[in-house]
């Protein structure tokens, strides 16, 4: 068990160090998401009194698109020189490699989201009443996106047209995350919905647990098929 943790830490540290030195993924994701927010601002700001209604949706669309951009880059280094195969040939369980990569993507996306969501809060004048629900929904939702996205970006690493195929494959699976996420975020900024934020948060947690189990199990199977 401790060996697994050490291996997990090693893969994660490797990714974090590369990312810290080059800042490839976080920079491209953050820049992309900022431009996206900028575009949305002009798409929806025609009626200033209703900007708050659009805020939660824009948060989640931006998060989803930027996470996908990050996933397209996530396995770039592993593709060169067949590094992923070497990593899997090493006596490290495939599930551990997957967990480390997914955690890396999760951390990068959270770093990016911290900037972007702050921008949206400012631009769209969101009043966050329930900070716990707001942050919790973003963290749980991002975790779900990272799990599903990392699995398929690893699988499609060498595929033709992977930039198009990746969202094609992940978006249908992630629809429930967006539905639940938008609801909790909207409730936490005081939208008049007849909903129970706690129930949707539990739903997100359940989604993360189900897909955490499914993706960890599938990764090894799929990559060796």
């Amino acid at each position: 068990m401790t060996a697994g943790l050490r291996q997990f830490g090693a893969v994660l540290a490797k990714d974090a160090r590369i990312e810290f030195r080059t800042r490839d993924i976080v920079y491209t994701m953050a820049l992309f998401s900022i431009l996206l927010v900028f575009v949305f601002a002009f798409a929806f700001l025609s009626d200033p009194s209703r900007t708050r209604d659009y805020g939660p949706g824009i948060v989640w669309v931006t998060l989803l698109f930027s996470a996908t951009v990050g996933q397209n880059r996530l396995f770039d280094r592993e593709r060169e020189n067949g590094c992923l195969w070497s990593m899997l040939l090493a006596p490290v369980p495939a599930g551990v490699v997957f967990a480390a990569k997914a955690t890396g993507h999760f951390l990068f996306t959270v770093a990016m989201a911290a900037v972007t969501v702050a921008l949206i809060v400012v631009f769209f004048d969101l009043r966050v009443l329930d900070v716990g629900g707001f942050v919790g929904s973003l963290l749980l939702g991002t975790a779900g996106m990272s799990l599903v996205g990392t699995l398929f970006s690893a699988m499609l690493m060498n595929a033709r047209m992977k930039e198009v195929l990746l969202p094609l494959v992940t978006f249908p699976v992630l629809v429930p995350v967006v539905i639940a996420g938008v609801k909790v975020t909207a409730l936490s900024v005081g939208a008049p919905l007849q909903e129970d934020a706690g129930a949707w948060l539990r739903f997100l947690l359940g989604f993360d647990m189900i897909f955490g189990a499914v993706t960890v199990l599938l990764f090894g199977r799929m990559i060796r098929s």
Partner: protein, 112 residues
């Protein structure tokens, strides 16, 4: 030494598998709790009724809807059957190519 290590590894793998499986079951249970809480309210987001427009339903003709619906069903099935037929024709052609290749022993190139 080797065998005990592999046995330990197998036990560990079993434990991890059990943990993962119980996480999946617990996740299902968690996701399930949602409807139980909301059953009384009976609402997904409470706003779907916004789309239901009682005044609009009498304007349209039910006959047209039925004709279009059943027409679409036949059309969709017909298109799929045509596709299957095209697939079968393609397979026949490939079989012919294969036969020619085997007979000619690498003589003539395939037609396609």
């Amino acid at each position: 030494m080797r065998s005990t290590r592999s046995r330990v590894a197998r036990v560990l793998a079993g434990l991890v598998l059990a943990a993962v499986a119980s996480a999946a079951v617990a996740g299902t249970a968690l996701a399930q709790e949602e409807p139980r809480d909301k059953a009384a309210a009976g609402a997904w987001d409470g706003s779907w009724r916004a789309g239901v427009d009682d005044s609009a339903r009498d304007v349209v003709s039910g006959e047209t809807m039925v004709v279009v619906a059943y027409g679409a069903v036949w059309a969709i099935l017909f298109v799929y059957v045509l596709r299957l037929a095209a697939d079968i024709r393609g397979l026949r052609r490939e079989t012919e190519d294969l036969k020619r290749l085997v007979a000619g022993q690498g003589g003539k190139p395939p037609a396609s």
